[in-house]
Each structure stands twice: as structure tokens, then as C-alpha cells.
Symmetry: C2
Subunit: 116 residues, 2 copies
DNA sequence: TGCGTATATAAGCATATGCTTATATAATGA
DNA sequence: TCATTATATAAGCATATGCTTATATACGCA
């Protein structure tokens, strides 16, 4: 209703879109929406450095878009279903092609982390 | 199906989201989706400089997201319904609050351009 | 406790981005 | 044709962004 809220909505959406306007982060989101992944798996999948992936995840986490789940020495990331932007996220990710095959490739190489 | 197309889709979407990850451009898109606007109107609405608005419009046009419609000395911009990203654009804009009130404010100030 | 693995953070750097000012181009109307 | 208005483009600059390398922190296990 009020212009105040309208401004907020525009701010929120543009901030979220800016975050997802990076191919690596957008793909991470799609991937961890389908299957929670730990950092080292993402490093392998994206052929990126560990700090680079870690920094992307930090931005996504700071925005509340992903959540962590520590399992021993690994930290698994997944899409945060309680995010304020969840509707938007759902809509965006639903129109992207599945990235599960990337995880399956990992598995074939024996690089998939599986712990309890 | 193919990983090639999947990569393309991710590229396309992340590029589009990056463009709309700017509050000014996102708002311009919502605005000109509801009512075509010329540059000088946008300058007034956003309290921005003419070159700044012009440069934002250039980016949107280069990406095929908006189209031009010259009327005399003015160039009116509107959302391009034939954009490759039209579905995505429709989805995003539909969840944003109407910006028509900004045009109405212009009208009150007598700054609305109307040329039939 | 100490070592190896996983992850996060800090600092530095090159490039991208969005603004500014200045100028060019295009259209209107006297 | 000339002045005015609208718009686009170019160049320069400050800040943002995403990577790198180096280092810190956290956990598991011997």
C-alpha cells in the first residue's frame, strides 16, 4: 500500500536479483535446492577455488537465502525455505534446468561426500 | 536436455537478473511496463541525471528488454513483449507494486509528456 | 595433544559498474 | 538556417565486485 513498503519491496527484490545475477551463485542455488552440498563438493563441481566458493556462500547466507547444516567436519548448504524471498526464489529456480547431473558426475568420480 | 542448453539458460538468466539487480533499472522496467515513458519523464521521476537514465535504458535495450518508440523529439520506452526473457520478466514484474502513482505525480506537476 | 582435512576470513588486486561532466546527434519551430 | 529541446555517447573517476594468496578456525582422529 504505502510508498514506504513499495520502496522496500523494490529494494529487497533488486538486492536478491543482484545476488542471483552471478552465474556461479545462481547455479549454486539451483544445485543446493535439489541436493544439499558441502563446500568441497561445490569446489569440485565449479572448478573454483575454495575461498571463492566460500565467499559466494557467505553472500547467500548473509542474505538468508541458504542455510548451513554442519555434519562433522563438513558444512552442508541448502536453500533456506524460511527466507523472506522464498517465493521469488522458488519461482526463479523452478524455471532452471536440473543440476542434479553434476552431483551424479561427482558420485561417479567417487568424490561425493556422504555422511549419515 | 543437453548440458549446452542448460549452460545457456543459466547464462541468460544470470545476465538478466544482473541487469535487474539494480533498483533503478528494476523500477524503470516496472514503470514502463505499466505506461510507456520518455527519458525526460524518467529523469524527473528518479531525480537522476539525463545521462544516467539514458545509460540504464541503453543496457536494457541492448539486452532486448525494452523497445523504443520515437514520437517527435521524444523517445518513449516500453517493455519489449518479444524479448527472449519475456516470461521471466513477466513473472518478476508481476510481483512488484504498481508504480503508476509516480506517473500520476508527474501529471499533477504538469510534467507529463503527452503527444498523441 | 598434535596432525590432517574442511571451511572461513583477511588482504590485495584487476576488472566491472554507475555516476559525473562535456559534447555530439536528432528533431522542432521560428 | 538557427536556436531550443530531447536524447545519446564519450571520457574520467570513485566504488563495488570477484578473484587470488595467505592465514585462521573448527572438527575428527590417532
Amino acid at each position: 500500500m504505502s510508498a514506504i513498503h513499495e520502496e522496500e519491496r523494490l529494494d529487497q527484490m533488486s538486492n536478491t536479483l543482484k545476488l542471483l545475477g552471478d552465474k556461479t551463485r545462481l547455479t549454486i542455488m539451483k544445485l543446493v535446492d535439489e541436493q544439499e552440498c558441502c563446500v568441497c563438493e561445490l569446489v569440485e563441481i565449479f572448478k573454483a577455488s575454495q575461498p571463492s566458493i566460500s565467499q559466494h556462500l557467505r553472500k547467500l547466507k548473509d542474505a538468508g537465502l541458504v542455510k548451513e547444516n554442519r555434519k562433522g567436519q563438513w558444512i552442508f548448504y541448502s536453500v533456506n525455505p524460511d527466507s523472506k524471498q522464498n517465493e521469488l526464489i522458488r519461482s526463479l529456480l523452478s524455471s532452471l534446468p536440473s543440476q542434479v547431473y553434476k552431483i551424479e558426475e561427482l558420485e561417479k568420480k567417487g568424490l561425493r561426500i556422504s555422511c549419515g
